[in-house]
Each structure stands twice: as structure tokens, then as C-alpha cells.
Symmetry: C2
Subunit: 344 residues, 2 copies
């Protein structure tokens, strides 16, 4: 996996069947990314005829030998772990295998999130030293970049897993967003050192012993303020938070709509502010960030929303390339070696 | 504690020293509530001279014998459990003792939340059958009433504690909001029965065995949609969610402000929509709901935000009266007896 840190040749597999608008959005987004960065060697995995349909209809050109046929599709309603067994010829399984066999460096999919996580963890495998891979998200903070690790890769995390999330999240934020010494906060119910549950109390003591820029416990209200760059929490908490945040914009829209229905003057008011609100709320649109990285697997894995747009897919592919250029996988392995013997 | 269900005589103690604007807001709010409902027998606990100052300055009248002098004040920065010991003459300790000694039926405070929780649990004591009291909050859902139990009374809840929260929350929503058979949801990371962590998996099985209107697991995105009336979760998760939600409006305001600074046209746009947004965002103002109930203590205990307004304090006192009228404490005790032997 040796490669220089800038613009190295990178083989990226995109799941053409992944997402609600597949293969259309997946194929178009992937090809757009590849045309922007010629050091990307793109592979499309999925039903060959459907992929060719999209390419031909859009008058695009793509090397036939880079379409990897996979007959089956894991749907959004399939049970993740079960689907890996019952659909061995699915695009997700075939794509993950390409990375495991070192025939590709990165895998990108907007398909079934659980199946992508399972395939990445079970087929691609974990980086040595990683107990549990973690999936992160980006929050629109008042100041700077705020990420949360974990938002759903695993629940019932142990203290050492929280430590791993902190290490992997810090490396991600440092390498991808160029923040030199990312601030790390442990999500808890109070700022005092003693606040938290049993798991965070232990994790707190372990984090104190690292070289990370650990600022201590943070509260729910500190996330959007951008108090830290990396929020560390169990996937149970992070997943609930993420889904709650996503629904907030929905509620705001419905409240504004209800307000508009209350009379003509209200309606005019809402019409006047519609454009403004749209622009402001765009930042809350988690879609636009395109995919979230699954860190800790021995290769690059990017998982997107089912409703990913062409732009979102393109961003996911470019993000995968960036993670490859920055050599994230090796950096995580090296860093975790340092903390292998930390205990409370 | 026998009393009829409507408009019975109720002795309510208000912590005159509680909150950032004490004694001013606490005294004025309490007196307003008492003047609205003459079946309230009001007691004010705190520094007598400071309380009298507020009463005199506002040309109000209040029975001197109903001012209970308490020399000490537990501040917002005091450590809750420690403060109960080091400040035995504080308004919170003296107020809680009045309820324990059956000299009062309810205690209302906008003071140190942790100290109020500790005083209520340790001094007033728990209802027989309650392992852990729970503090709830109200969310502005798209449809109907949505409450969350627990939002911070306890972390590391066991499955049977989650069951208690569900029972107590259901009774609260039924009695106070008149929802006949409140829908209860267990907050988790997926809707399927099997999704969750170890504790929710056990709690799920227990909840299935109750007569509660248990709809199963719900996700973070279901809260604001109002999918259920009672969201059940560990206090660690609930507290983080609550504080996160409160900060959302803050972020929205700051984003809109930043947008306005980008040019004159943006500024005009924001000015045009300011009033509208204010009205819409009012619903997100958790302040206006006034205080949250601590359920499971053997008496009524209402805890308010430190920044409680006069209106918020008034609402808290009226809420305490309502909880007394509806005989909530006894109803919780009766209901929990039914589920005392439920296991997984």
C-alpha cells in the first residue's frame, strides 16, 4: 500500500446499484469524479446491462473492462448480515472483495448502510489494532468543523473502543480538513470530569493519557457550537443524535408551512422568506456533505445516504481519493500502536 | 394524601432563591399562580428579608407566616450532593423537608437542577416500587404531545428502570395532557425489534409484557415527528438529546445572522422575515413550557430552568397543582405494583 502522499494512482470501486436512484446517480456521479481527477482508476460494480444503459443514454464513454458484473442487489430492506450470505453475487459483496483482494483501494456505495458496514468489516477486514470500526458524520457547527464518531457502526462500545474512535476521528479531521491538532471531546451529561456513565468515566481516564488534544467532557449543547472538532460517543448515542438532527429541518419546514396556512399575510411573509431560509438551511442538509467514512477497515470504505444525488456520489468518490492520498489507513494503524497498552 | 380529583386544597412550596433572577421572578411568578387559583396555599422558602423586599417593591400582599426563612442558598455552581450536606439551611433542603414532613404537597424550584433532583430523591424519598425517579421534557412535535423520559435523572439505567420511566411517563401524559392511551416508544438505533443495545433489548421484552400502548423501538428521527407520546431512554441519551435540541435554535439564529452580514440585500431579507421566524421558533422555546416534573418521588417536585421567567415560574406552580389534583403520586404507585414482577 506504499504510495506518495499526493495524487497517486488510486483504484476506486463504486457500487452502481447502491442508492434509491441507482444505477443512474451512482454511475453519473462516479464518472464525473473520474473525469475531474485522472489519477482515479474507476471500477463500476453491478448489473452490466443496466450500467451500460446509463452510460449510453447519457452519451458517455467508459472502459468496458472496468465494469465488474454483479448479478444480485442488496436492497434497503435486506437484513445486512444475512444478505452478505444469501447474496454472494451482490454488488456490495463483490465490491468489498475487490478491496480485500487488493484489486482496488477504495469502495464507495450509497446502498444498504448496514450491509456496507458489515461487508467492510467482515470482508475487507479491520486494520490491525482496531477493535471496532467507526462511522462518522459532519455537523454544521457555528465555528469550524465538527465531526461525531461513532454514529452507528457499533453499540455497547467499551472504553477502549471510544479511545479508538477518538484516535481515528482525530486523524480523519487532521488529514482531511487540515486541522493541525483537532480538539476531542467526550460526549457526556456534564462538563465536570466526574460526569458521565460507567463507560465514559473509564474512557475519560484513558483519553487523558493520550497525546490527543482531549478537552474533556462536552455536553449536547456544545456540538453545534463547534466546541470540539471530534465528538466521541457510543454508536447508540451518536446514531440517535444524527437522526434527530436530520429530522429537525423537517420539523422547521412543517411548522413554517402550518404558519403560512393561517392566513394570507402569513402566506406572503413565508413566501418572502422562502429563498432566504432555503439558503440558510442548505448547511443543515447532510446530503450535501456526501457520504460518511467508515474508519478502521483495512482499505477505504465510504457509505452514502440512500437518497444520494449525483453530486453526493461524486463527492464520495473524491473523498475516497483524498483519504487514499493522505494514506489514512496506515496512519490509523501507526497511531493505534502507540495506544495499544493504555488502560484506565 | 387522600383528596378529591378536582381543585383540592394544595400546599405548594416555592424556592424563592432558585434561578438566575431570584428572588424577583420566583416570588412574582409564585404569587401570580396563587392569585389565579385560590385553592393553592403558597409557601415561599428563602431569605425572608429579600423575599419581603420583592413583595413590598411590587406593592403585593402576602401572609408573613407563609414565608419560611432559609438562610443559605445553593448556587448553580455548587456540587449537588455535597451542597445538601454543607448547606442544611438552604432553601432547597428546607423546602424538600417540608414535603417529606407532609407540611407541604409540592415543591417548585428553578435552582440548581442536580441539587433539586438529589433533595427530592434523598429527602422527599421515592414512591414505593420506584427504583429510580425520572425527569421528563416536552418536545415540540409535528403532531401532538411528545415527552422524553429520562432526560438526566439517572445514567446507566437498567432495563427495569426504563420500564418504570415508561409507566410514569404514560401516567403523566395521560393525566396532564388528557391523552387516553399514550403511545410509548423505546428509543433505539432502528425500528426492528432486534435493534438496540443490551439494555434496550431487555427493556423491549419487558415492555412487551405490559398493558402500556408500547409501539416498539423508535429512532431519533421519530421524536419530532410525534410518532409516540412517551419516548423512553436512559438519562445519558435523553440529557444529551435535550441539550442538543436546545442548542439547535441558537445555531439557526447565528447562521441567519451570518447570512445577513453578507450584504445589504441579505440584510433586508433577514429583516423582512425576522418577525415570522420569531413566531415559528417560539415553539422551540423550551422555556415557555415552564419546568419539568421529577416523577417517582413521594410528593410533587417540579424543576425549572435557571433562567426561568415570571411566566415560567407561574406555569410551574400551576403544573404542580395540576399534578396534585390528578393524584399522580398515588397513580404511579398503584400502576407500578402491577409490573413489580415483570422480567425479560
Amino acid at each position: 500500500m506504499e504510495h506518495s502522499e499526493v495524487n497517486s494512482h488510486c483504484r476506486i470501486v463504486v457500487d452502481a446499484m447502491g442508492g434509491d436512484f441507482a444505477p443512474q446517480n451512482a454511475v453519473l456521479g462516479a464518472l464525473q469524479a473520474a473525469s475531474m481527477d485522472t489519477s482515479i482508476e474507476l471500477f463500476l460494480v453491478g448489473r452490466k446491462n443496466e450500467i451500460l444503459d446509463v452510460i449510453n443514454k447519457n452519451n458517455l464513454h467508459f472502459d468496458d473492462s472496468h465494469i465488474i458484473h454483479a448479478d444480485e442487489v442488496i436492497t434497503m430492506s435486506d437484513s445486512p448480515v444475512l444478505a452478505l450470505k444469501t447474496k454472494p453475487n451482490s454488488s456490495i459483496v463483490v465490491g468489498a472483495k475487490l478491496v480485500r483482494e487488493k484489486k482496488a483501494d477504495a469502495f464507495v456505495s450509497a446502498g444498504n448502510t448496514g450491509a456496507m458496514m458489515s461487508a467492510s468489516t467482515l470482508i475487507i477486514g479491520r486494520i490491525p489494532g482496531v477493535g471496532r470500526p467507526t462511522i462518522g458524520t459532519i455537523m454544521p457547527a457555528e465555528t469550524g468543523i465538527c465531526t461525531i464518531f461513532d454514529v452507528g457502526a457499533s453499540v455497547d462500545s467499551k472504553p477502549n473502543h471510544l479511545l479508538e474512535y477518538a484516535v481515528m476521528g482525530s486523524i480523519f479531521v487532521r488529514e482531511i480538513y487540515g486541522i493541525k491538532d483537532p480538539k476531542v471531546g467526550l460526549l457526556s451529561v456534564g462538563e465536570e470530569d466526574s460526569k458521565g456513565n460507567k463507560v465514559t468515566a473509564s474512557a475519560f481516564k484513558m483519553l487523558k493519557k493520550t497525546k490527543l488534544n482531549f478537552v474533556g467532557n462536552i455536553e449536547g449543547r456544545d456540538i453545534l457550537k463547534g466546541k470540539v472538532n471530534v465528538v466521541v460517543c457510543d454508536g447508540f448515542v451518536g446514531n440517535i443524535l444524527l437522526k434527530f438532527a436530520e429530522s429537525f429541518v423537517g420539523l422547521l419546514k412543517s411548522k413554517i408551512k402550518a404558519f403560512a396556512y393561517k392566513g394570507l399575510i402569513n402566506k406572503i411573509r413565508v413566501l418572502l422568506m422562502k429563498g432566504t431560509l432555503k439558503m440558510v438551511m442548505k448547511e443543515f442538509d447532510y446530503q450535501s456533505y456526501g457520504g460518511v467514512p467508515l474508519l478502521g477497515v483495512n482499505g477505504i470504505s465510504i457509505i452514502g445516504h440512500g437518497s444520494s444525488s449525483v453530486l453526493a456520489i461524486k463527492n464520495m468518490v473524491l473523498r475516497a481519493k483524498e483519504m487514499y492520498d493522505k494514506n489514512l489507513t496506515n496512519k490509523i494503524e501507526e497511531s493505534l500502536k502507540e495506544y495499544a497498552n493504555i488502560s484506565e
